[in-house]
């Protein structure tokens, strides 16, 4: 089974993100970029499927600026077999990404697409679902366990009340949650090998996808600073403040 894994280049989770002075977005110049941690879990899961003899080939796909190559290389160093970069300097929103991935799926014909449940930069949590809908495939989101059973995939999902297990018909889209696995460190031999693995570069035009943004960002602001706490004299005062000031009850 061929597996396609989407990997996004995002600001490293260790970096303290700063809002740009003109509030159009966040500062990305001179900021360390890494693979979205949920996508790393996706790559790891694909490698485990390959080690278990279920997956035959792993293709890592990234979409965005030329430097996304580095993110693909990271996936290759972990153990993916080859990469595809859809290069574009445009802002790629989830719908555009889903459409691009669909075009690649039609070209590569994988049986399984693994995506992170969300990217830690925009926290959209949409791309996997959109991709499944566009392809008309089954979807198992927020996966904390993936198991193959014949031509079905058992996906345990983390839902509000606990765990839910769904049985998916293949081909399918799976999005990863935090507890699915612990990604490995790339080994030195694999880092060296990754340099020789092929990365194909495509453009949205070649794939016939219009990536023009459908959403407009009005402004980006830092979350409000936390106010200091206050002591209340009585329960009555607390209830009053919760009701009338905080308006939470």
């Amino acid at each position: 089974m061929k597996v396609l894994v989407a990997v996004k280049r995002v600001i490293d989770f260790n970096v303290k993100v700063r809002v740009k002075a003109d509030k159009t977005g966040v500062e990305t110049a001179n900021v360390k970029m890494s693979m979205n941690p949920f996508d790393e879990i996706g790559v790891e899961e694909a490698i485990r499927l390959k080690e278990a003899g279920i997956a035959t080939e792993i293709i890592a796909v990234s979409l965005g600026v030329a430097q996304c190559q580095e993110t693909i290389r990271t996936a290759l160093a972990m153990g993916a077999d080859r990469g595809i970069l859809v290069q574009s300097d445009a802002e790629l929103q989830p719908l555009a990404v889903a459409k691009l991935l669909k075009a690649i799926v039609e070209k590569e014909k994988p049986e399984l697409c693994i995506l992170g449940k969300q990217a830690i930069d925009d926290d959209c949590n949409q791309t996997g679902q959109m991709l499944a809908a566009l392809l008309g495939w089954a979807q198992g989101t927020f996966a904390s366990k993936v198991k193959r059973e014949g031509d079905r995939l058992l996906v345990t999902r983390e839902v509000d009340g606990g765990l839910e297990t769904v049985k998916l018909k293949l081909p399918a889209v799976v999005t990863t949650d935090l507890r699915l696995n612990e990604p490995r460190y790339a080994s030195l031999p694999n880092i060296m090998k990754a340099k020789k693995k092929p990365i194909e570069t495509l453009t949205p035009e070649q794939l016939g996808v219009d990536v023009a943004p459908r959403l407009v960002t009005l402004k980006v602001e830092e979350p409000p600073k936390r106010q200091g706490g206050r002591k209340v004299a009585s329960v009555a005062e607390l209830v009053d403040k919760l009701r009338n000031e905080a308006r939470v009850i």
Binding site: N30, A77, Y185, A186, S187, L188, P189, I191, M192, K195
Partner: protein, 593 residues
């Protein structure tokens, strides 16, 4: 709390901008060591050090190693970390592909060694000693020994040690008493070795001891010492482990620092040993491993200094104490952060200037080790080898004295919080202290420089530093923008030349004069080498002030100015001290002390 992020930007600066790191990939055998490969390797190595080794550093110090009935247990988590380290292939980085190595340049390994030392010096001792054993066997072992043992050392499944010191002899190895008796095609080794790092532990299934001992017919002194390989378990027929050999750990030391590194007393009781190299050729064999080990220790000093600097910098930026002398800077806060105060800045800048100069110098020497090993032209190889030999004692002393001083400043900046164990800063001081002692105490390094390296080949080694320094000064001294860097360097270089003549002339008449000048001369040399590095770093940084990363190059230039104006002047007093000669030092009768 200590904090650490690998200085990846600075590695890129020294390997790609300051020096022609691309030259590495032009050396035969290093074709794959391109800049982007080196970047990828260092990034992943950094992750491993930051995420796996660093969190174990303080708990490892608290728990230490445990000894019971000849068995040594490393602190919790070390085994798993070692497994991860080996599984990633990191033990194989700079090893020969013929034995399963990755064949990357030593320069890259230098960066990894620094990161390991920054995050967990104790942990680094185990693979570090194995690498020393690997080198000794690679250079002096028989083909059969290499085939049998090297792949195990390269993949980390077996580890190695260096067994030199005995209870009555450390620096003076001529006094060694451990005996080797020929027996059945091998030797029976008997004696006691002390201070053996990684002598016994639970990380690997086998341990290969490289032991200095005397054959029955051995001449006295260092000319009568041979090198033997004594495995903890003799190799079995299938290449795995066989019978237990007669070598046992008698106890472990309770030390000031590197507490998670097992420092063992090793008792050899007619243990089976195999001769490595020629009979009585042990010192030569051991020194080929010692020299690379000395550079490894230099990098330990740098590594600890880097963690001390980063931690102190973070503390100074956050801790609010007092107001700036020039008026409040953080007006919305009850006080200003420590970093506004001149004396705090003085300490931070000493730390930064020391670390970054050391990193540049290490890279310069690392590249020359690679040239010495791989360059097709024998003249280039010889020149590179000369420079490495000359600079090895300087790096060992300067980086470890510097690392200790820097860690100490880290404690000073954090005040009482630096002194208590919970914050981790005092551990860096304790860990750094040994680096000034082992692999040849720093005083011995100074003697090596003055007594062996300076006179060697009629001063040829010295010229390998002097000539590039002269060329650099000649090329840049008339550039007005660079004068503030080049002129102080040229002045220090002049003092170094003066001191060199003085030491050589006086030392010729009276060796005690050379001995009395050695440590100060080494320090003068080291500061001049640092000035060379800072002048070169300034030259590279000046044209880049307009770009995206101006913050980085501004930092380099400001630090270069600090070094030239506030650290390099020490060379003047060093020259004065050297000029004073041995007399004030030797006059006092021993009984009067």
């Amino acid at each position: 709390m200590t904090t650490y992020k690998a200085p990846l930007r600075d590695y890129r600066f020294v390997l790609e901008e300051l020096f022609d790191g691309a030259a590495l990939a032009r050396l035969p055998g290093y074709e794959e060591a391109t800049a982007d490969t080196i970047r990828a390797v260092l990034e992943e190595g950094a992750r491993l050090c930051e995420e796996v080794l660093f969190p174990l550093n303080r708990p490892g110090d608290e728990e230490g190693c445990a000894y019971e009935n000849g068995v040594v247990r490393t602190p919790k988590g070390f085994k798993e970390a070692y497994r991860t380290f080996c599984a990633g292939g990191w033990t194989a980085l700079a090893c020969d592909p013929a034995y399963g190595g990755q064949g990357l340049p030593h320069t890259v390994n230098f960066c990894l060694e620094e990161m390991i030392s920054s995050t967990n010096l104790s942990f680094g001792m185990y693979p570090g000693l194995s690498h020393g054993a690997y080198r000794a066997l690679l250079l002096h072992g028989s083909d059969e020994q290499k085939q049998r043992y090297l792949p195990r050392l390269v993949d980390g499944s077996w580890s190695g040690t260096m067994c030199l010191t005995e209870p009555h002899c450390g620096t003076d190895l001529g006094l060694i008493r451990t005996r080797a008796e020929p027996a059945e095609g091998a030797y029976k080794i008997s004696g006691t070795k002390i201070f053996i790092s990684a002598g016994e532990h639970d990380l690997t299934e086998n341990i290969l001891h490289l032991v200095l001992a005397r054959l029955p017919d051995a001449p006295a002194g260092t000319r009568g010492i041979s090198l033997f390989l004594v495995p903890k378990f003799l190799p079995g027929a299938d290449g795995g482990i066989g019978a237990r050999n007669g070598v046992r750990c008698g106890s472990i030391e309770h030390k000031m620092g590197i507490k998670a590194s097992a420092t063992c007393v090793m008792n050899f009781d007619e243990a089976t040993g195999f001769l490595v190299g020629k009979p009585h050729g042990g010192m030569r064999a051991m020194f080929s491993m010692m020299n690379s080990a000395r550079l490894g220790v230099a990098l330990q000093g740098l590594g600890l200094g880097e963690t001390a600097y980063q931690s102190a910098r973070a503390y100074a930026a956050e801790r609010l104490q007092g107001r700036s002398l020039s008026g409040p800077k953080a007006k919305d806060k009850p006080a200003d952060p420590l970093i506004v105060h001149p004396d705090i800045r003085r300490m931070l800048l000493i730390m930064k200037a020391q670390n970054e100069a050391a990193r540049a110098l290490a890279a310069w020497i690392g590249i020359h080790i690679d040239i010495a090993e791989k360059h097709p032209d024998p003249a280039e190889r010889e020149a590179a080898e000369d420079l490495v030999a000359l600079m090895t004692p300087i790096l060992k002393s300067q980086f470890t004295d510097g690392g200790f001083a820097v860690a100490n400043l880290g404690v000073q900046i954090m005040g009482g919080h630096g002194y208590i164990r919970e914050q981790g800063m005092e551990q860096l001081v304790r860990d750094a202290r040994i680096t000034q002692i082992y692999e040849g105490a720093n005083g011995i390094q100074a003697l090596d420089l003055v007594g062996r390296k300076l006179p060697m080949h009629n001063g040829r080694l010295l010229r390998r530093f002097f000539h590039p320094a002269e060329r650099f000064i000649a090329a840049h001294k008339d550039d007005p923008a660079l004068q503030e860097f080049v002129l102080p360097f040229a002045k220090a270089f002049g003092k170094l030349q003066q001191a060199t003549v003085l030491v050589a002339q006086r030392g010729m008449r009276d060796p005690e004069e050379a001995g009395a000048a050695a440590s100060d001369y080494l320090r003068l040399f080291a500061l001049t080498a640092f000035a060379f590095m800072w002048a070169r770093m300034a030259t590279v940084s000046l044209p880049k002030l307009g770009g995206d990363e101006a913050w980085f190059y501004k930092g380099k230039l400001a630090t270069a100015r600090f070094f030239m104006n506030r650290m390099l002047p020490e060379t003047s007093s060093l020259l004065t001290i050297i000029s004073a000669g041995a007399k004030p030092l030797m006059a006092l009768e021993a009984e009067a002390f």
